[in-house]
């Protein structure tokens, strides 16, 4: 076991845990954002640099600070480590810079993007970025590649987190897509026009933090915050069959895997569950799905949104009083 101090909070975690996962055990607003790290995917992380933190003391044995900021998602803890995230001005400034870098070539087509509302980049930019840009040049574009009838690839929106590559590598056989090219010309592609055809290929949509990989059967049907998430399951011979159905009225517009509060898939689902079973009669309904994140998708549901406590402090007093009278409900409470 290793004891570390993260933003002044002490936590004890098993040896070999990463700083990010130690912070997640504390929870709340001090958890560094992660755009590329994905717990279920081996080898992911370290690429987006959104989770950089400052290590003020390396360990109890060697309490010197680390010379550079480190990626918390891939750096294991050491006993006696002191980590600064939100308490370090340097970290917050660097994070602003990372947002800027991720956005300079992002098309910012959120108004027509299906991911809007549940987009990690949107949340990240909103929480940590600045609202103006210093970038004057033309944004990068790519030639369109058709990767099949089920998944839509928008390369311009991609932030090259490599999650979809790891997913295809680790949960499907015969991965046909990967990263081609290098530098800012690097792109997700299938090299020779090839469709991604695999029973579990749809999971790349769930792991994509932005709108680069979206569901063709849900394309332009609705904004996500107008749909209501409902937990459901079915007896599926291929996967666990535990899904979230996104309803608009009586229609199931889309099916996704269930995700935890950090947007990570709990159980992978197969393409049959995801793309083909779009009738309520296909499913056994469990009840409203609880969205454990402060996001627009948690609004307009059967329960009040989960609020970010740091935001609440900035709200007008009357609103705060209302909130106290009608606190956000938790499922089952």
């Amino acid at each position: 076991m290793a004891k570390i101090t993260f933003d002044g909070v002490e936590v004890e975690v098993p040896d070999g845990t990463t700083i990010l996962n130690a912070a997640r055990q504390i929870g709340g607003s001090i958890v560094p954002p992660a755009m590329c790290y994905y717990t279920p995917l081996k080898g992911s992380g370290g690429k987006c640099r959104a989770c950089l933190v400052r290590v003020a003391a390396g360990s109890a044995k060697d309490p010197r600070p680390m010379p550079k900021l480190v990626a918390s998602c891939v750096t294991p803890v050491q006993d006696g480590m002191v980590v600064e995230n939100t308490t370090s001005e340097q970290v917050l400034n660097v994070r602003k810079g990372i947002v800027e870098m991720l956005l300079i070539n992002h098309p910012l087509d959120c108004p027509v993007c299906d991911q809007a509302g549940e987009c990690d980049l949107q949340n990240f930019a909103f929480e940590h970025g600045v609202s103006t840009t210093r970038y004057q040049e033309e944004r990068r574009t790519f030639e369109k590649i058709d990767i099949g009838p089920l998944i839509q690839l928008h390369m311009t929106r991609c932030i090259l987190c490599y999650r979809c590559v790891y997913t295809a590598n680790q949960i499907t056989d015969n991965r046909v897509h990967g990263v081609l090219g290098r530098g800012d010309a690097a792109e997700i592609g299938t090299y020779i026009e090839n469709i991604i055809d695999n029973d579990f290929s749809g999971n790349v949509i769930d792991v994509c933090p932005v709108g680069a990989l979206t569901d063709k059967t849900f394309r332009f049907k609705s904004r996500v915050w107008f749909t209501k998430p409902v937990n459901a399951h079915r007896d599926c011979p291929k996967c666990s069959g535990n899904v979230v159905l996104w309803y608009k009225g009586k229609d199931v517009l889309r099916t996704t895997a269930r995700k935890d509060q950090y947007g990570e898939v709990k159980e992978w689902i197969c393409n049959e569950c995801r793309f083909e079973k779009k009738e309520t009669s296909d499913w056994i309904i469990e009840g409203p799905a609880h969205i454990d994140r402060s996001s627009v998708i948690s609004a307009n549901h059967y329960e009040l949104p989960v609020l970010n406590q740091s935001v609440v402090a900035d709200l007008p007093e009357s609103t705060q009083r209302d909130l106290e009278k009608n606190p956000p409900l938790k499922l089952g409470s």
């Binding site: 640099r49 891939v74 810079g97 870098m101 210093r134 490599y162 290098r182 530098g183 800012d184």
Partner: protein, 446 residues
């Protein structure tokens, strides 16, 4: 004239063949090490020699070797980094093509010291002709019994392979090199774990530059203490400097560390001064990624002392008034050089060579190149100069591998020392945009 430890016989006819090389004292270190020394004694000699990595970072080689994890029953690897692709650096190419057996001798002795039974030379893809020279030399060494099973009857086995890369600058970064050697895309790995613990095929691995390995035979033959007598302070031994740019005699020079920079540039023994009788304007002392310095600061430190060709003296004053010895790619620029255009050229290289894995480098290198392009072609604004510095700062230190820094340092240093030239490109945009236009103190065109 300083001592030549590596390149003494470089011009001997047929030195690239085994017989001639052997006649000139080649492979003595292998005999000495395998017959009279234990591996730990070799490591100890290298430690005593104070040899520092010649690839650019200058990390003590002996210390790197002693960090190598040695779990029982697990193979260890030595990998030679011959992916020399830094603009301005071309020393390893010459060393390998002229003296292939020196590198092989170094590989055998070093592999013995580290207990590696399989070693690799990862060579840059563009150097295919050098690859053939090395392969021929390795075949000769196998035939002579210096490679293969039971070398010289000592019971030590070694297989040596040469592996060409695809010609990517990023594969000169040690973990990207290992990924590429494993047959994967050459993306740098997250550290820790370091290669000394989990390197090639997740086994303990040491990655050394060609020149560092080529220095090992000398150290073993002459003894570490003897080697450490050359040089100044913690910069010991000799170093190959590939001098290029506006010099009378560009080329590869083996210098004793501690040589004054002024002597190196102006003495007839070395570069012989600036060509066409012009004035020196600036020097990039260690390959394109180290900070550029103007004439005043490269010849003398900020404190007014003579600058020497050592790791310490060149980095005197930090990055405010100093630079780095780096890989020894010495680029001299005369007064007709446009610093903005030069910086743009460098940043174009890094933009092209960024692997695209982590966001600050992927996006930032391209951004800097575009801003510099704008400035150079007369479309810049005054704010762009500060923007460059700010973008460079956002990249520096926040990336997975040092390519981010390599891209950011030259830009930041050029603005630091030559801000007036950048400003001139904004205020005299029309003139600056013309081909060959150069800022002079009186702002005339070249």
């Amino acid at each position: 004239m300083g001592r030549k430890l590596l390149t003494e016989h470089i011009n001997v006819e047929g030195i690239n063949t085994f017989e001639v090389y052997r006649k000139h004292g080649g492979y003595r270190s292998v005999e000495k090490a395998l017959k009279t020394m234990t591996p730990d004694e070799v490591v100890e000699e290298v430690k005593k020699s104070g040899l520092r990595g010649r690839g650019g970072a200058g990390f003590p080689t002996g210390m790197k070797w002693s960090f190598l994890a040695k779990p029982e029953g697990v193979p260890r690897y030595l990998v030679c980094n011959a992916d020399e692709s830094e603009p301005g650096t071309f020393k390893d190419r010459q060393l390998m093509s002229k003296l292939p057996h020196l590198l092989i001798e170094g590989m055998i002795t070093s592999s013995y010291a580290l207990g590696a039974n399989t070693s690799y030379i990862y060579i840059r893809g563009e150097l295919l002709y050098v690859l053939r020279i090395l392969e021929k030399a390795i075949a000769e060494a196998y035939a002579a019994g210096f490679l293969g099973k039971n070398i010289l009857g000592s019971g030590y086995d070694l297989d040596l392979h040469v592996h060409p890369g695809g010609g990517a600058y990023i594969c000169g970064e040690e973990t990207a090199l290992l990924e590429s050697l494993e047959g994967k895309r050459g993306n740098p790995r997250n550290k820790p774990p370091f290669p000394a613990v989990q390197g090639l095929y997740a086994r303990p691995t040491v990655v050394n530059n060609v020149e560092s390995i080529a220095a090992v035979p000398v150290i073993v033959n002459e003894g570490g203490d003897e080697y450490a007598k050359i040089g100044v302070g913690r910069s010991t031994g000799t170093k190959l400097i590939s001098a290029c740019g506006h010099l009378n005699k560009p080329g590869i020079y083996e210098i004793e560390l501690g040589l004054p920079v002024e002597e190196f540039i102006y003495s007839d023994e070395y570069c012989g001064g600036i060509w066409k009788g012009r004035e020196l304007k600036a020097v990039v002392a260690g390959g394109s990624s180290v900070p550029i310095l103007p004439k005043e600061l490269i010849l003398k430190t900020a404190a007014g002392e003579n600058r020497l060709m050592t790791y310490e003296s060149l980095s005197d004053g930090g990055f405010v008034t100093g630079t780095m010895l780096g890989s020894g790619g010495f680029i001299a620029m005369d007064e007709t050089t446009c610093i903005v255009r030069n910086t743009w050229n460098f940043s174009r290289f890094y933009h092209h060579e960024s692997c695209g894995q982590c966001s600050p480098c992927r996006e930032g290198t391209g951004w800097m190149e575009k801003v510099l392009h704008r400035l150079e072609h007369g479309h810049g604004h005054m704010e762009d100069i500060d923007l460059l510095v700010s973008v460079a700062k956002q990249i520096e230190g926040n990336t997975i591998c040092p390519l981010g820094e390599a891209a950011a340092w030259p830009v930041a240093a050029a603005v630091r020392h030559f801000r007036h030239e950048f400003e001139w490109h904004v205020t005299h945009a029309k003139e600056a945009a013309q081909p060959g236009a150069v800022y002079r103190t009186n702002a005339v065109l070249a």
